[in-house]
Symmetry: C2
Subunit: 415 residues, 2 copies
């Protein structure tokens, strides 16, 4: 069973919007064990949409179209699907009821163009939209299948979860694709491939693929299997061999973000954390609290952008600031230790650095970041020189702070 | 001049990576006035890559391929481009020199597979990579043009800026595409279209397009023009007419993120801001400090996740916490006012809410968020009930806090 994505929207071709829908849909298909071979993006243009849809229907069994279901004139998906499949558009009373109920509930006027959103190709089934106006379209052309979803991410996701995923699961019955991700730090992609080359060439079930992530390299093992247990049996010997060769660089498995790994370790150890951020301005706190239930281990933090705030709220020494500068190992340590003590946390993290584009000096160029981790058991501080934009430097600094804490939590793990 | 993007990478079809490169490349092409009609994504697969490249070369003059230039076995772009254009691959000494110098500089071993990265299709020109290993490919097939760039975002961007953009600018000489974005709050997409329907249907230069953004609706006016002044002359009458009809809902123009608008307003008014965040955990601080030079107006903040931190660092009243609850208008106001006073800022923002998925009650369901803005001139507080995931609620809360401050800054603007 092969699927294809057709993303519709001129805004996607003007660089104004990053297409997170495609990522999400791809993930859903992988979970269902449906192969995704192509993804295409076209603007709100009749000719190009029609051409792309025809191509997709030729080479793929399932075509998922996202976007173009809005009320306005350039929303053409309904018409294009009807035309490409030789159907008329039919007004769907039930869809219209839901549209008007939702608009009334939000106190929004019901305009004539909203009626377009209740039109479905003849023979299609409406996909209910629990969080927005536009219903989706499920058009079964047996054996082909066309699914149309709105481009608004929240709506698309809710409709996939509630309706499309269960229906596709029932329809395909294919062996799901299982994958296992091993994550490495301290080794580059090509060096890792060299270590494992013979294994990569020999292996077919599971396959082994390498890719560079942010601050890490990942190996993905993939196979089709009848059950998770069967997949596990296929993965185990390959994983053991990888462990044997490069196990010292392996720091985690799975695709959970580092903040989730930190959250688990803190929860298991019944420990709490507080953060003191300068150049990252809240990014570290944001990542730590992005995990549901973060209040169990995250007490809070201080965004100490101004030096005065570092002194008054974190107790950073004025003399240290003067002699070593705000961007220094000493200040990072005092920030981490200060926030830990002030908030009464087991662990404190401190970040101070120069995210740029201005503010760099010869000895401390843009990208210089000091990250400290403090606890009753001792302190650590690391010095980085990141390259890239302000945004990249900040993201990388927060990431490395999470890794510093994770490593410390593992080293000090009482279990 | 028509361009097409071909994004290569199995990881893009497995939903593990969001394709921000496509967004960036689309933006670059728009800036150059080059039309982008198609974007396709395929996995690291010889047959599908070759097919997609052939299709692209048939219908577009410029094809930009991103990804597949790494050192590993599944990096096929070099071979595919050579095969599709009937060329051999040639070892490029200069590229090899740069590759080995960079790897040595990073203390990374030079492996046999790195040599593949120095291979270029015969007749192609190397695109230097200032931040990574893989050089790019510029293959002029006059009139067709194939450009290959690595999939690593930092490398792709640096190479576009330094080499590809200047060369494309010199080559095309087309009238650039100008666009002007008008941003509205307090009116929905369909209501806005209804107000402007006759205008949208009548207009061709500039064209008028509507799209829903996060917490706002945008109108984009687009035209080709010989100069910015000429574009301005074309935009002016249409913009005036839009102003006349729905000007009361217009809050900004341009595509600058709201934090940049806030940054400008604070800078003009020589004012400072501090934040007190609970459910957003640093997201608001992160957005305010994402603007270069944020230290001019951002003093810092307190991430008051635990109630104890709200009391001790922000002076929130224990009784208020008890009687109204941590998620209340009263606590939001005390947080905003507390952080403003503690940090000595002109403006204070406070956010408290329930991001979920747990923690909701009947009277305060998940998505309930109170946002306060405090200043010497007075305080404001707003109550929201956002829908969606934890992440969406948090992002929306930070966004609305920025809008609350922006509106207050405009209302109190001394100028």
């Amino acid at each position: 069973m092969r699927a294809e994505l057709l993303m519709v929207g001129t805004e996607l071709l003007l660089g104004e919007t990053t297409d997170t829908n495609a990522t999400y849909l791809a993930r859903c298909l992988a979970d269902l064990g449906i192969d995704l071979h192509y993804k295409s993006t076209v603007g709100d243009n009749w000719v190009r949409m029609t051409g792309a849809l025809a191509t997709a229907l030729e080479r793929s069994q399932i075509v998922i179209v996202s976007g173009g279901l809005g009320p306005t004139q350039d929303d053409l998906t309904r018409e294009v699907v009807a035309a490409a499949t030789g159907r008329t558009l039919v007004f769907d009373e039930r869809a219209w009821e839901e549209i008007t109920r939702l608009l009334r509930g939000r106190g929004r006027p019901i305009t004539e163009n909203n009626r377009r959103q209740a039109m479905l190709p003849a023979g299609a089934v409406r996909i209910p939209n629990p969080v927005g106006v536009a219903p989706g379209i499920w058009l079964d052309l047996n054996p082909r299948l066309v699914i149309c979803l709105p481009g608004v991410p929240d709506e698309l996701r809710a409709m996939m979860q509630e309706t499309v995923m269960p229906r596709l699961r029932a329809r395909t019955g294919a062996s799901p694709l299982y994958s296992r991700v091993l994550r490495f730090r301290g080794i580059g992609e090509s060096a890792l491939e060299t270590e494992l080359m013979d294994l990569i060439e020999r292996q077919s079930t599971p396959t082994i693929a390498l890719y560079a992530g942010s601050g890490e390299v990942r190996i993905r093992l993939t196979c089709r299997a009848g059950s998770a247990e069967e997949a596990e049996r296929l993965f185990a010997p390959v994983e053991q061999e990888i462990q044997k060769r490069v196990g010292d660089k392996l720091y985690a498995s799975g695709t959970e973000p580092i903040e989730a790994l930190v959250a688990k370790a803190l929860t298991v150890q019944k420990a709490t954390v507080a953060v003191a951020e300068s150049c990252t301005g809240g990014l570290l706190g944001e990542r730590l609290t992005s995990v549901p239930g973060a209040s169990a281990y995250f007490l809070g933090g201080v965004l100490a952008y101004a030096n005065d705030v570092k002194e008054r709220l974190l107790g950073v020494d004025k003399e240290t600031l003067k002699s070593h500068g705000a961007v220094s190992a000493e200040v990072a340590l005092q920030m981490a230790d200060g926030v830990r003590r002030t908030l009464g946390a087991d662990w404190g993290l401190g970040i101070t650095g120069i995210a740029g584009p201005g503010g760099g000096t010869e000895t401390k160029p843009v990208g210089t970041v000091f990250i400290a981790c403090a606890s009753a058991r001792g302190n650590r501080v690391v010095h980085h020189r990141f390259v890239g934009s302000r945004d990249m430097i900040r993201r990388r600094a927060a990431l490395e702070a999470l890794h510093l804490l994770y490593q410390a939590l593992r080293d000090f793990d009482p279990a």
